[in-house]
């Protein structure tokens, strides 16, 4: 067996696992817990919501107590925000929650600004506006974006900690729909690229790692499985396998370049 030290870093914090796991859509807290144990992720995403005051403490069955936050790094997301202002507000709340769990240095925030209720596509302008503000306030932003290499480049220049281009629509399990753009984003970025959303099966996760992604975030594919803890374990090994494949031959990734349809000669600029 080849033993490989293959850590990756975000803001000088090192992680072993290149799998991030979401906590949404699980039938029970117990299944969430078992899946997280089986997948051994580096970070776990959570959403921020009002506490249901009509339920008692036992019924609320909190993720706060179900997961060992001393061992797992929380990545709060701004899911539910349609505007930059809403995302900013959720960002500060997420930071306080992480702090209350003893993660004082945790400034990570998965930034989702989604006004599109049908396809759940991220709003690029809202994302840039919120990222700009939150970065200046010390947050380490993981922006959820479409597979737009130019947008990705702007967000990296702004100071985002990672990039999170989508594989396909949230919850769709459709896999990687725009491979070429994902490859371009991976090639041009100097910060970690985490493929998020749409990874439906372990082969999708493996593919993402084979083309050089630094990590993947998976939620629905695990949570909606009949045996989520088995799917979680499968994803763990798929990520490892894909990563080993990439490391064995990183130069094998090829990207088709564009060609201009108008002449360069005579351009005014």
């Amino acid at each position: 067996m080849v033993i490989l030290s293959d850590k990756w870093e975000v803001n000088k914090i090192s992680f072993n696992s290149r799998l991030l796991v979401g906590t949404g859509r699980f039938e029970t807290l117990e299944k969430t817990k078992l899946s997280i144990q089986a997948s051994n992720p580096s970070l776990v995403t959570v959403a921020i919501r009002r506490l249901e005051t009509q339920k008692n403490e036992k019924e609320n069955g909190s993720l706060l107590s179900a997961i060992n936050w001393k061992q797992i790094w929380m990545l709060p997301n701004t899911a539910g925000s349609k505007t930059a202002d809403e995302a900013i507000r959720l960002g500060f709340l997420g930071k306080e929650i992480a702090k209350s769990l003893g993660q004082d240095n945790n400034r990570f925030l998965k930034l989702e600004v989604i006004a599109d209720e049908k396809y759940l596509m991220p709003d690029p302008l809202g994302t840039i506006k919120a990222a700009d503000y939150l970065i200046k306030k010390g947050f380490k932003i993981f922006p959820y974006i479409n597979t737009d290499p130019i947008l990705a480049s702007h967000l990296e220049e702004l100071g985002c900690a990672t990039l999170m281009p989508l594989g396909s629509a949230i919850g769709s399990n459709q896999g990687l729909k725009n491979l070429e753009n994902i490859k371009i984003i991976i090639e041009q970025s100097k910060i970690p690229v985490i493929i998020d959303a749409g990874i439906g099966k372990p082969s999708d996760a493996s593919k993402a790692m084979e083309i050089g992604a630094d990590a993947v975030l998976i939620n629905t594919a695990i949570a909606s499985a009949e045996r989520p803890e088995l799917m979680a374990e499968a994803m763990k090994y798929a990520v490892i396998g894909g990563r080993l494949s990439y490391l064995s031959n990183p130069q094998a990734i090829s990207i088709k370049k564009g060609t201009l349809s108008s002449p360069k000669k005579g351009v005014l600029f």
């Binding site: 906590t23 959403a47 921020i48 919501r49 506490l51 709340l93 929650i97």
Partner: protein, 76 residues
């Protein structure tokens, strides 16, 4: 505390987006008790300012105050 607005008397407070009316002077700790909430499981926003837990006993609710009890739930 009455939940819905039907009279003009009492202090109106917005808690998690719902209107409550109280005829008493209460602080946030008493509000946690009323809802049977463990405050270590949440973050409290008081008029859009995140409140430190130590300040809850000293924060008395006034008319049209907006309180949000926030926690984490499953998300991707």
């Amino acid at each position: 505390m009455k939940k819905k607005i039907y009279t003009n008397s009492g202090t109106w407070i917005l808690i998690n987006g719902e209107v409550y009316i109280t005829n008493y002077t209460i602080n946030l700790d008493q509000l946690f008790e009323f809802f049977n909430i463990n405050k270590s499981l949440l973050i409290t926003e008081y008029n859009q300012v995140i409140l430190k837990p130590l300040l809850c006993s000293k924060t008395f609710l006034g008319s049209f105050d907006r309180i949000e009890f926030v926690t984490i739930v499953g998300g991707g």
